[in-house]
């Protein structure tokens, strides 16, 4: 099993370590619900070093970026981050990624579990196009600060250069922790930052964030709460809302198809876009105490009409929530739905994603012209 550079620090901090996508990662340090609330109300510190970091550089970087993912690379401005997909030739989802436009190319942050499959495609296309690819996953670690106090904590860490960033933008800058790439992004539904930090400085950054943020309520947060946070925020997770058997239209990911380039899967996407999908992703509130989980069947009129993609007890809402992929005809007919949770069948009500969205800070109060 692989370990991130922060592995022994996690153990010191009392983490419960589990296998995730080939890495030994903290699922929690003390309590998933408490860590969830930390991110909603204060600031959580996450190790995301298991995720893949791949750079395209040189004159053919643009061609490669346009070939392997679904956001129009040419239209991307320097300093911007965008959500995009990597697709198979059949138009199903190989991975979901964040792509950043850097001075000399592009940075892709990819899922740990898909890293080798993604790189296989990337290297093959790079060879064909004569582009240069650098896998920075080992040399550079990744730490996220997420929560309403994240910007204050950034200031205290001497990273104030990044706090004026707009959402989905990034900036490079020097710091006590080496040269960083900081983006205002996250996977929690809160304000926050994701920091690419040189491997040798990652431990110092993680510790400093906990120490400097102590009175801000900072605590280390595991992947357990990351999952409940992202689901409340309506953000998809590879292997749940999408995978190799699902096309973007069936996963409500049409918004990530933002390229007219000849990307892998684009002919199939053009064909699929001509008709409505047979099944669609849907958000559900689920009755009862039992938690709906991936694979549980969705039932309408005694028939199995879909399957749960993700489910959890929402700590913020105090009720059970799920995403499910359901036959479009059933959704369009507004049929009554239930979820089969082992021996029980419990009611479910359709709702709209996200389950939770933060109250955004209001702008400065304008002085009245009295």
């Amino acid at each position: 099993m692989q370990k991130t550079v922060l592995n022994s620090l996690h153990a010191e901090l009392g983490a419960r370590l589990v296998e995730f996508a080939g890495f030994e990662m903290p699922v929690l340090y003390q309590d998933i619900t408490a860590e969830h609330q930390t991110v909603r109300n204060a600031v959580g510190v996450f190790d995301l070093s298991h995720m893949g970091r791949v750079r395209f550089t040189g004159p053919r970087a643009m061609a490669l970026a346009n070939r392997v993912q679904t956001f129009d690379a040419e239209s991307m401005q320097l300093g911007r981050v965008r959500y995009a997909l990597m697709l198979t030739p059949e138009g199903t989802v190989l991975d979901d990624i964040l792509i950043s436009r850097e001075t000399d190319g592009f940075l892709l942050v990819i899922n740990a579990g898909n890293r080798s499959a993604d790189l296989e495609v990337i290297h093959a296309e790079a060879k064909r196009l004569g582009a240069t690819v650098r896998d920075d996953s080992e040399d550079i670690a990744m730490v996220a600060l997420q929560g309403p106090n994240a910007a204050t904590l950034m200031q205290r860490l001497g990273l104030g250069f990044a706090t004026s960033l707009k959402y989905y933008c990034f900036v490079d800058g020097p710091s006590d922790f080496g040269n960083l790439t900081v983006s205002r992004t996250g996977y929690t539904g809160e304000d926050g930052f994701e920091i690419l930090v040189p491997r040798d400085h990652a431990c110092a950054l993680f510790k400093a964030a906990l120490q400097a943020g102590e009175d801000l309520g900072a605590r280390p947060c595991g992947l357990g709460c990351r999952d409940t946070l992202r689901l409340e925020a309506g953000m998809p997770l590879y292997g749940h809302e999408m995978d190799l058997t699902v096309n973007p239209f069936e996963a409500a990911l049409d918004h990530a198809l933002r390229s007219k380039a000849d990307y892998i899967g684009s002919p199939r996407i053009a064909a699929l876009s001509q008709s409505a999908p047979m099944r669609r992703l849907c958000a559900l509130f689920v009755d009862g105490p039992q938690i709906p989980r991936q694979g549980h069947e969705i039932v309408a009129g005694g028939q199995v009409v879909g399957v749960v993609c993700s489910g959890t007890r929402s700590p913020t809402l105090g009720r059970n929530i799920a995403t499910a992929r359901i036959d479009s005809a059933v959704l369009d007919a507004d049929a009554a739905l239930s979820v089969r949770i082992r021996r029980n069948e419990v009611g479910a009500q359709k709702t709209i994603l996200p389950f939770y969205s933060r109250k955004r800070a209001s702008g400065p109060v304008k002085e009245s012209n009295s």
């Binding site: 998933i32 105490p289 007890r313 082992r342 021996r343």
Partner: protein, 133 residues
């Protein structure tokens, strides 16, 4: 870790307290098991009158993290069920060996108790295998 001395323990982290009458017993799950599950949301127990079999699944307990099966430490007929616990799972954390009991059973084969662990053996097993949850 300190385990109550008067209980017997199963490899699946259930405990059983044999009553002095030699007929009845109470069944629950151990504090380390409760700790490992964390954030409990649901408990499913058999109704009074049902039969449970040593080593077989008799119910399930669910946390935010996962669902775990409950295994019968001994064979017997369910004569009592802790419905207050089903309504308030926090009792499992507060008092796993007392108010957090799950079932009261009428024991059929007392000899089955020989297959269970004493407190020291169970504590030793946890120590040698802390990540078995």
């Amino acid at each position: 870790m300190k385990m109550p001395q008067d209980l017997k323990y199963s490899e699946h982290d259930e405990w059983i307290r044999l009553d002095a009458d030699g007929i009845h017993a109470w069944v629950g799950i151990t504090a380390p098991a409760v700790e490992a599950l964390s954030d409990l949301v649901f408990l499913d127990l058999p109704e009074v009158g049902k039969e449970i079999q040593q080593g077989e699944v008799f119910g399930e307990i669910e946390s935010v993290k996962a669902v775990a099966d409950l295994y019968a430490p001994m064979t017997g007929e369910v004569v009592g069920r802790n419905d207050a616990l089903i309504d308030d799972l926090s009792m499992l954390k507060k008092d796993p060996y007392g108010d957090g009991w799950m079932l009261k059973i009428r024991v059929e084969k007392r000899i089955e108790a020989d297959k269970l662990m004493k407190a020291d053996a169970y504590a030793l097993r946890l120590k040698s295998n802390p990540d078995h949850h």
